[in-house]
Symmetry: C2
Subunit: 294 residues, 2 copies
């Protein structure tokens, strides 16, 4: 199996998600916490301008700017389109990366606890995530089989990829000590696994793991002019990962009426009432439960 020589912990990919940014500051003071004997750990504030402005991004979502053709296209004008190239210069280049593994720290306004997003076929990535789930309470796995070269996420420019640690609920532009601590513990568990794997002491893990796969985003109710006229129903608010069945309440309209779930039985909502979804009037994502090979 590949050995890991270098890890980059990324914070502030979305500028108003403060937890990662402030964890980086902690680790500037306490580098020993993220060092492991068998690899070098670095940190990166990914979107310093969006962080300074306390917004998610300046021009585009930075976490969608790492497609190979976009990294090659120097005519793209946006701040994040160019920032991605600078980051690719440091961590990548994507075709032959200088750094091995990326841990990208995010937060959500949804009540999702710790969610680990794995866009990877690589067994080290999958096993690191399963190890976190095994050793840290309240961890959910999001698994997409995506080839690294086909992906446009930040984590796709590491040599073997990486994973996203997404923790909530916390408001944009806010720090919460509980979310900060959960993110810190989950990050350290990833580093622990990579080190144990490097030195040949990786613990036994089950051959398959339970997780969720993205199905689709669901729009909130709009009127004919495209104005938002509803919100998440109280029965769904804060209940990420609880299965929905046809006839369950889904949205509450401003006028007091209820909109019911009419989709496939048993899909589970996530990113319920995520603030970053409002620009497109999305209310939540729907996921299906899966078992995947580790």
């Amino acid at each position: 199996m590949d050995s890991i020589k270098s890890v980059v912990i990324v914070g502030g990919t979305h500028g108003n998600e403060l937890t990662g940014v402030h964890l980086l500051r902690r680790w500037e003071q306490k580098p020993q916490e993220i060092n492991r004997g068998s690899f070098v750990t670095e940190t990166l504030l990914a979107n310093p301008r969006a962080h300074a402005m306390n917004c998610r991004y300046i021009d585009q979502d930075l976490n969608r700017q790492f497609a190979i053709q976009d990294l090659a296209n120097v005519t793209l004008p946006g701040y994040e389109q160019n920032r991605a190239k600078a980051i690719n210069q440091l961590i990548g280049p994507k075709q032959d990366p200088a750094r091995d593994f990326i841990i990208d720290l995010h937060t959500t306004t949804a009540n999702m606890g710790i969610t680990i997003v794995i866009n990877s076929l690589n067994p080290i990535v999958k096993r690191a995530a399963v190890y976190v789930q095994k050793t840290v309470p309240n961890v959910t796995l999001f698994y997409q089989e995506v080839d690294r070269m086909e992906d446009n996420f930040m984590i796709s420019i590491g040599r073997i990829g990486g994973l996203i640690i997404e923790v909530g609920p916390v408001a944009q532009g806010c720090l919460r000590a509980d979310i900060f601590e959960a993110t810190r513990v989950a990050t350290n568990a990833v580093l622990d696994y990579l080190h144990l794997a490097n030195i040949g002491k990786a613990p036994e893990l089950p051959e398959t793991a339970s997780g969720f796969q993205f199905v689709k985003k669901v729009k909130m109710p709009e009127d004919e002019q495209g104005n938002l006229v509803g919100m998440i129903h109280p029965n769904v608010q804060d209940r990420d990962f609880q299965p929905l069945n046809p006839g369950d309440p889904l949205f509450l309209l401003q006028n007091g009426d209820t909109v019911f779930y009419q989709d496939e039985p048993g899909l589970c909502p996530a990113f319920v009432n995520e603030a970053a979804y409002y620009d497109q009037h999305h209310g939540l994502s729907l996921l299906k439960h899966i078992e995947f090979e580790v």
Copy 2:
């Protein structure tokens, strides 16, 4: 006692506090809900541009732009400094207002339930707030004795002033059905009281009420360069209005150390971890418990 002929319900004074904005849309569809026989009720989206940008304000906090000298000063260049004059033209002029009573709808990221802010000496304003507290669960009163002509809040341009209904916790840029409903119920209770007072059927209220008075804002920990290096301690997070005593944990530093409360015994925190406080690195306000004459 003065009778009320006109009420204005204001939403979106802060553009990313969505609850008030969406309640206004509800009431466009259901005007009968906010009509009462003895006065006219209107609605106003106060800061449409900040709302369109999903930010608190464009140039300045709109809710500090209603000082009499600022309303008179046409050299002030900011969007909110000019928007305040437009609103004063509709509701005021402050010296001799066309509208009697303002209900200004706000939200907070802090766990404050329903807080009614009363900057007034006027008995109708105070009694309306006490009536809400008597008839709606989980209502706290903030009371400042401020002469209407000395105040710079939106509510100061109504003939007898008005009150702020501030509800949380909800993230900026998000709607929550529970917060929407609490704000709706509290607003209707204010309208009910004004109507009952108008028709001579105001219920008996106690001669004094319990509430809180603002003492000061408290800065979060900073390093020598002025960077934020701490956050609200978990013992204080979500515990608005619970008294603090010297030696109680107050902030948790990024390095894991605790900063202890060293102020006057018994002061109570509010706006704990309010996202809008971060620009000045404030972590919370401290209040003292008071009894005031109604």
